[in-house]
């Protein structure tokens, strides 16, 4: 990807865009933003660049198409879930801005993935958000809604993580997937926090989800060995076991993710 071209293209689309974003970044706290990062982050331009690079999806390696369609399935699930929830009065007003922002992000993820995949994008499946009756009041009881949201977000983070190594033959797409992955993690932390959970996952705690669901969503989160290094041994007496497990979000395989998602597919 040629950054200068992206940048030029962006300014053509919206001449004042950079100026506005600079104002935002100054007013905010992240002075790190440069024109370059702003330009590269703009998804319309990004989608079109990825699109060009991979010939409207037709030149994407097969393994990448598989990963992106898998990701698209999860994004469809999340987007549709929040889109329905968005119109419901049961969401307490103090939480509405959070859910509305998350809904918008998921919508952008769907659009981006569809655009990169082009004609190879799968269409949206039909969903049953009660998960075959497991969550009958998902759209009438906020506690249930928030619990399902937490399950989706933490699963989403773990799903993207599991697929990252499968995108190493398409680096621009890997980078974008990592950006989505980090975004999903901010969602997951926020939802956990509003449910009275820590923003991170201690051990393989079901974190307030029904035990059967929690067992699947947090399976393996109690791992303390990274690259054959047993951190529990090294940090014995320095960091509690819980903290060591929180420090690493573990991946889920595609099969593990589909097992979680399956009840939500009609």
């Amino acid at each position: 990807m040629n950054l200068q071209n992206l940048f030029n293209e962006l300014e053509q689309v919206d001449g004042d865009f950079i100026g506005r974003m600079e104002h935002v970044s100054r007013r905010g706290l992240f002075s790190a933003l440069t024109k370059k990062t702003v330009a590269v982050a703009a998804p319309t331009i990004l989608a079109s660049a990825l699109n060009k690079a991979y010939g409207q999806g037709m030149m994407l390696p097969d393994n990448v198409v598989d990963v992106l369609n898998f990701a698209l399935t999860l994004e469809y699930l999340e987007y549709r879930f929040y889109d329905i929830g968005n119109n419901l009065t049961m969401i307490p007003s103090q939480y509405k801005p959070a859910f509305e922002l998350i809904r918008r992000h998921e919508e952008l993820h769907v659009k981006l993935l569809k655009s990169v995949l082009g004609p190879k994008a799968i269409s949206e499946p039909k969903f049953d958000f009660t998960a075959k009756g497991m969550f009958p009041d998902v759209f009438s009881n906020f506690q249930t809604f928030a619990a399902v949201s937490q399950a989706f977000e933490d699963t989403g983070v773990r799903a993207y993580k599991g697929q990252a190594p499968n995108l190493m033959n398409a680096k621009p797409i890997l980078e974008t997937a990592l950006q989505i992955h980090s975004t999903e993690a901010t969602h997951a932390a926020r939802i956990r926090f509003l449910r009275g959970q820590k923003g991170w996952i201690p051990l393989a705690s079901p974190s307030g989800l029904p035990p059967a669901v929690g067992a699947m969503v947090y399976k393996g989160e109690d791992n303390v060995t990274q690259k054959n290094i047993n951190l529990a041994g090294i940090l014995n007496g320095l960091v509690p076991l819980e903290g060591i497990t929180e420090a690493y979000d573990e991946p889920l395989t595609k099969e593990e993710v589909l097992e979680i998602v399956k009840p939500f597919l009609t």
Binding site: L33, L46, P97, K161, A185, L235
Partner: protein, 241 residues
């Protein structure tokens, strides 16, 4: 937590002078006090072959390839771990139980990450760096929260942008396990500062659904401000393989 701070508010010059001299004292106390003890215990357990300490002014040149990116991450983890150890050694007055828990968790996570890199890199790792956080007033809640947030944001953006340079899938796997933690930190720190708004995933960190990413050349100058050795990142990858 109740009030929204004005992020553009700057301390008057006199305050910042006082803050600096205060911090020099606090920093010295922390180094001679509990912190160094905790660190040296960790060193003994983590690097039996002896973690070399760097000296201020040393130039530390990061290697290229995966090893370079891992050492680059190690710089950031050393910075964060040391910072949170100092926050807990010098808690600002009025730190709530919830905030104390937050900083303990952040310390636990970053110390765990630092120990991982120290062990994984072994003799190929950079030495323990010397930090100078005298520009941060540890007595001020706002200063500590702002610095925490900045470190978490830069860390997330650094891992998000650095992942593409890793060529060994095992390295990418571990980096992926850490980056989402850093992003969770960003969300929670921001939530504690700007409750029930959209700051947790706000538009200056997540633009149109994508968390911003940063290149090593953008990140290192931000970290360098707090490091007394000179970190030279010229050998780090700048183009994907």
């Amino acid at each position: 937590m109740k009030n929204m701070h004005n992020p553009t508010q700057t301390a008057p010059e006199t305050a910042s002078v006082q803050r600096r001299s205060f911090l020099r004292t606090v920093g010295a106390a922390a180094v001679t006090g509990g912190i160094l003890t905790a660190c040296s215990t960790a060193d003994l357990q983590v690097s039996p072959n002896g973690a070399r300490a760097a000296a201020p002014g040393d130039v530390i040149t990061l290697p290229g390839g995966d090893l370079g990116i891992l050492n680059y991450a190690f710089v950031l983890e050393q910075l964060e771990a040391t910072f949170y150890q100092m926050v807990l050694a010098n808690p600002y007055s009025g730190m709530t139980a919830m905030e104390m828990q937050l900083f303990q968790d952040l310390r636990n996570h970053e110390v765990t990450h630092r120990a991982f890199y120290r062990t994984a890199l072994g003799g190929a790792g950079i030495p323990d760096l010397t930090f100078d956080f005298s520009s941060i007033n540890f007595r001020q809640r706002t200063d500590v929260m702002e610095a925490s947030r900045m470190f978490a944001e830069v860390g997330t953006a650094a891992y998000t942008g650095g992942g593409k340079y890793l060529t060994d899938p095992q390295n990418l796997k571990v980096a992926g396990k850490i980056v989402s933690l850093e992003a969770r930190h960003v969300a929670i720190i921001r939530e504690m500062e700007y409750m029930n708004q959209t700051a947790f995933s706000g538009e200056n960190i997540v633009m149109d659904g994508l968390f911003i990413k940063m290149e090593p050349s953008e990140v290192l100058p931000k970290a360098q401000k707090y490091i007394l050795e000179k970190i030279d990142g010229r050998n780090l990858p700048t183009a994907v393989a």
